[in-house]
């Protein structure tokens, strides 16, 4: 895994999200929320790029990568 956390951006694959709420519940800084049964970013500024959402998303619908956050 690439460790330069700060460089990474938070991405969402909406079509793959099944709205299970796991990422939302286990995000340590409450960055995420469900909207219309899909994951959405409530407050990107709180994101520490810890990667826990990616780690636990059963559907690979949220991940850190590249250089642009989703808003």
């Amino acid at each position: 895994m690439d460790n330069r956390k700060a460089d990474k951006k938070l991405k969402i694959v909406e079509e793959w999200c099944k709205g299970c709420n796991i990422c939302v519940a286990f995000c340590p800084t409450n960055v995420l929320e469900l909207r219309n049964n899909k994951v959405a970013i409530a407050d990107i500024d709180k994101c520490t790029k810890c990667g826990l959402c990616e780690l636990r998303c059963p559907d690979y619908a949220i991940y850190l990568e590249g250089s642009e956050d989703e808003k």
């Binding site: 990616e54 780690l55 636990r56 059963p58 991940y63």
Partner: protein, 273 residues
């Protein structure tokens, strides 16, 4: 779009997978891919074999040599694959039902032979695919569609079972403790011999619903709260261990490996080449 890990290790056109919202199987499958990638294995030489069940659908999504067999028989097929071509890293994905109910005999014999196969049990304590019947790992008194009055069976501890049968690497992880699970899977794959990882999953759809365990998030919290690392456990007083289960490494030994022993016979007796 999706993460590099997914792109590198999965058949993108087969995703999203068929698993239910919040199913722990997806988390474990990703952890497997991560472990394989971390180890830098040659993808051409990885063969992933499964039986039948929700869990056993995993190989279909993973971009390796993949084999989806009959219910319970994954380890027997895998034994054939591995012995025929010992160069392959053979990893078996199975469910608690697949490997410990109908497949129980293959499980103990593969362990006994100490053949170099890594088994990852996606253990959700239920038959998910067929809709929620109790499995050999469903805790006593829990409910399943075939245990409407509460399960009177005692549950297998799969780790103890394969230990008694002769496995050389035995460990448990959960869909909550993902990084630890990945590490365990890495070590399991690295062990030359039979390794088993009991990966505790969650099935919100059936096990959760039948047993009023709440949402996927609540079930994940249960994993978080109830799993105790074996190393820590040793130091805790019994009252702290009530209703807990243990994770971590239970066994990590080295013994002669089956295909290596077989190759020795061939080396010694082979006439034609």
């Amino acid at each position: 779009m999706s993460s590099q890990l997914i792109k590198n290790n999965f058949r993108m056109d087969r995703l999203p997978h068929i698993w239910c919202p919040g199913c722990g199987h997806g988390i474990i499958m990703r952890s497997m891919a991560q472990a394989i990638q971390n180890l830098g294995l040659d993808k051409q030489k990885v063969c992933i074999v499964s039986g039948i069940g929700c869990s056993s659908r995993a190989p279909g999504y993973m971009d390796f040599n993949t084999l989806h067999t009959t219910h319970g028989r994954a380890l027997a097929f895998a034994t054939g694959v591995k012995l025929a071509n010992p160069e392959l890293k053979v990893i078996v994905v199975t469910g608690d039902g697949d490997c410990s109910a109908i497949g129980g005999n293959h499980l103990i014999h593969t362990a006994r032979r100490n053949i170099d196969i890594t088994t990852i049990v996606f253990n959700n304590n239920i038959y998910g695919m067929t809709g929620g019947q109790y499995s050999p790992t469903t805790p006593t008194n829990d409910f399943g569609t075939t245990a409407p009055f509460g399960n009177i069976d005692k549950a297998f501890d799969i780790c103890k079972l394969v230990d008694g049968a002769g496995a050389t690497y035995v460990a448990r992880g959960t869909a909550y403790h993902v990084n630890q699970l990945t590490k365990i899977i890495e070590k399991a794959i690295s062990n030359i011999g039979f390794s088993l990882v009991d990966a505790i999953s969650i099935c919100p759809t059936y096990y959760g619903r039948k047993n009023k365990k709440g949402t996927a998030v609540q079930m994940m919290n249960y994993l978080k709260d109830s799993a105790v690392d074996t190393k820590v456990a040793e130091k805790l007083p019994p009252e702290k261990l009530e209703n807990k289960f243990f994770i971590g490494e239970f066994k990590n030994t080295t013994e002669p490996e089956y295909t290596e022993e077989y190759m020795k016979i061939i080396k010694k007796y082979q006439k034609e080449r």
